[in-house]
């Protein structure tokens, strides 16, 4: 900036604005230093990998790294979309997660209603403690328990035998894989899932119940005419948020409960990504192209779910 034109009104304004911005920044310099450690983390472990997705459009050369490898246009995507295993893993993900969501979703609501209707407060506490516990265990621990209980000579099959019923091959058969996922998911997550609905129920205005009782409404009528309609917004929002996770849900569970016998039916998108990246011949460009596809679909699902949840009058994912 030459001193000669400092006099012009426009420039003074611009300088003033710049000056203000700089003084503002200088004034808050301490605050910026607080943000530096977190920003370094974000750059290294969130934004470098996000930038690394550019590898989807490159030919990966180990000696040149992510940033130096030559561009390849959309070639990787052509291979990805031509791979029948990719397409089938996408459909498998949607198939498994949609069926799982539809079947498991009502259970936490039913449990919340049961717990709410239970009159004995101490028992209610005890039940809540027992039922929420499995949520805090990793799927590795839970699959240890599941493999023990559902295996050929485990608790459930021994009990079936005792009653003269045919045994079920829960863990090693393709048709039983999805039912087994549903069963174990209900076992692990229902108790915890009920917490949010219980909270919604406790927020219902008590006057409604009191006037219903004065009018002689039965408990069943109160459940169907007061409790359920009042928690419907929470139910809708929870359902939509679950839809937002359809493409990525259930990896831990599926990965740890799958075995050689269920290899084909357990190949959801995330399992496919793991297998092509770390188990078969490694082509990082190809895997990155799949990753990018996954990230974009996830983002679209999540943002759509958030929009719909807000539109339905809920809080959405991000407040």
């Amino acid at each position: 900036m030459k001193p000669a034109i400092v006099g012009s009104g426009k420039m003074t304004k611009a300088r003033l604005r710049n000056g203000n911005l700089l003084t503002e920044i200088w004034k808050h310099r301490m605050t910026y230093t607080l943000l530096i450690p977190g920003l370094i983390w974000l750059i290294l472990f969130a934004y470098l990998p996000t930038g690394g997705l550019s590898l989807a459009f490159k030919h990966y050369k180990a000696n040149l790294g992510i940033w130096g490898s030559p561009w390849a246009g959309l070639e990787n995507f052509m291979y990805v979309f031509r791979d029948p295993a990719f397409a089938s893993s996408v459909w498998r993900t949607l198939y498994v997660n949609i069926i799982k969501l539809v079947i498991t979703f009502p259970f936490p609501i039913l449990l919340a209603l049961l717990l709410n209707e239970l009159r004995m407060r101490k028992m209610k506490k005890l039940f809540q403690t027992i039922l929420t516990f499995p949520q805090f265990l990793s799927w590795i621990i839970v699959s240890g328990i599941v493999i023990n209980v559902l295996s050929y000579d485990g608790l459930v099959n021994s009990a079936l035998q005792l009653f003269g019923l045919p045994t079920i091959n829960f863990l090693g058969s393709e048709p039983m894989f999805l039912p087994m996922l549903i069963l174990t998911d209900i076992w692990k997550s229902t108790g915890w899932g009920a917490i949010i609905f219980l909270a919604a129920i406790s927020g219902i205005d008590q006057d409604q119940y009191e006037s219903a009782q004065i009018d002689g409404a039965s408990r069943m009528q109160q459940i169907f005419k007061i409790t359920l309609p009042n928690i419907l917004p929470t139910v809708t929002v929870m359902f939509i948020l679950n839809v937002g996770g359809l493409m990525s849900a259930g990896f831990d569970q599926i990965f740890n409960l799958a075995n050689a016998a269920t290899q084909n039916v357990s190949q959801v998108l995330d399992v496919y990504i793991y297998r092509v990246t770390f188990q078969s011949s490694t082509d990082f460009s190809f895997s990155t192209a799949v990753s990018l596809f996954r990230s974009i679909v996830n983002m679209v699902l999540l943002l759509t779910a958030d929009r719909v949840a807000k539109w339905m009058g809920g809080d959405g994912l991000f407040r």
Partner: protein, 300 residues
């Protein structure tokens, strides 16, 4: 929840209708469906091979023995896993609390240039992430693969936890910080000597969130760490349980040791010892996670 229950019992004190008994019965069955698999695991871990072979349905062994535990600890792999997980937590927890609280406090300050942009950078990581493949390549180029640091660093910041903490800081009265500022304290001093002591509840919640995530984490370690002696507890458990159960459907002979040398009793003992810390902290976990879920709208 509690006020609800109190109010309603006022109307019909001591009257247990048929419906009440049905509800109690259903809940009892559900609770047993959770408890019995746990009891079975514990019973098998305490039973001898012979007793297990005779009765895999048992809920308590006739002659409890600690043989399986002794064999498990003599094998030592599970102890190495414990050690690695403890190392990860010893470094990871302070680091994650530092990264989360500095950023949360910084972003809870009054408007400054770029605040919205930086907040969006954090929020965006919740909406979009590159996934494991580019993260693995970045880790490799930073020469962090094969070191516990990879697992520690990846797990030491979460946008969700940061936002939770930020909301808490925003709810603290501004006058507190104002008076400290007048006394000449800088923002770092204010954070560490005024805010953090007041923020014990949220610090406890966030510590438990990171703690459970570190304790239960396994995927990062499976990708970044290759040597068996570096694997954290969950991965060791996975080797013992999942990877050794190659053909569950045909595992006819219960007393045969599988190829990794772990008997069923030892497997169940390893499941149980991995569960113990979660059991010990469970009352705290339940309370704090419920709070987190109810204030944060998203699940853990």
């Amino acid at each position: 929840m509690s006020t609800h229950a109190v109010k309603r019992t006022k109307y019909r004190i001591g009257k247990m209708s048929l419906l009440d008994y049905i509800i109690l019965a259903i809940l009892t069955i559900l609770a047993l469906a959770i408890l019995i698999p746990f009891l079975n695991v514990i019973a098998i871990s305490l039973a001898s091979q012979k007793e297990y072979a005779e009765n895999p349905m048992m809920l308590w062994p006739k002659q409890p023995t600690l043989d399986a535990y002794r064999a498990l600890f003599e094998d030592g792999r599970i102890l190495v896993g414990f050690g690695n997980t403890l190392k990860i937590m010893a470094v990871g927890l302070p680091l994650s609390l530092f990264l989360t609280s500095t950023m949360a406090y910084g972003l809870s300050r009054n408007a400054f240039p770029g605040k919205k942009g930086i907040f969006f950078l954090v929020l965006f990581t919740m909406i979009f992430n590159g996934g494991i493949v580019p993260l693995y390549l970045v880790m490799k180029s930073l020469h962090l693969t094969g070191s516990l640091w990879s697992v520690i660093l990846v797990g030491s910041f979460s946008a969700f936890n940061m936002i939770l903490m930020m909301n808490y800081f925003q709810s603290l009265p501004e006058s507190l910080m104002e008076s400290a500022r007048l006394d000449g304290a800088g923002e770092w001093r204010i954070l560490f000597s005024i805010i953090l002591p007041l923020a014990a509840p949220i610090m406890a919640t966030i510590t438990l969130f990171y703690g459970v995530a570190f304790w239960n984490g396994w995927y990062d370690a499976m990708i970044f760490l290759r040597k068996a002696e570096m694997l954290p507890l969950q991965n060791v458990l996975r080797t013992i349980i999942v990877e050794s159960t190659t053909n569950v459907s045909n595992a006819a002979s219960v007393d045969a040791l599988n190829k990794s040398g772990f008997s069923t009793g030892m497997k169940m003992a390893s499941v149980f010892v991995s569960m113990v810390p979660i059991m010990c902290f469970f009352p705290m976990l339940q309370k704090h996670f419920a709070k987190g879920v109810l204030t944060g709208a998203i699940k853990t």
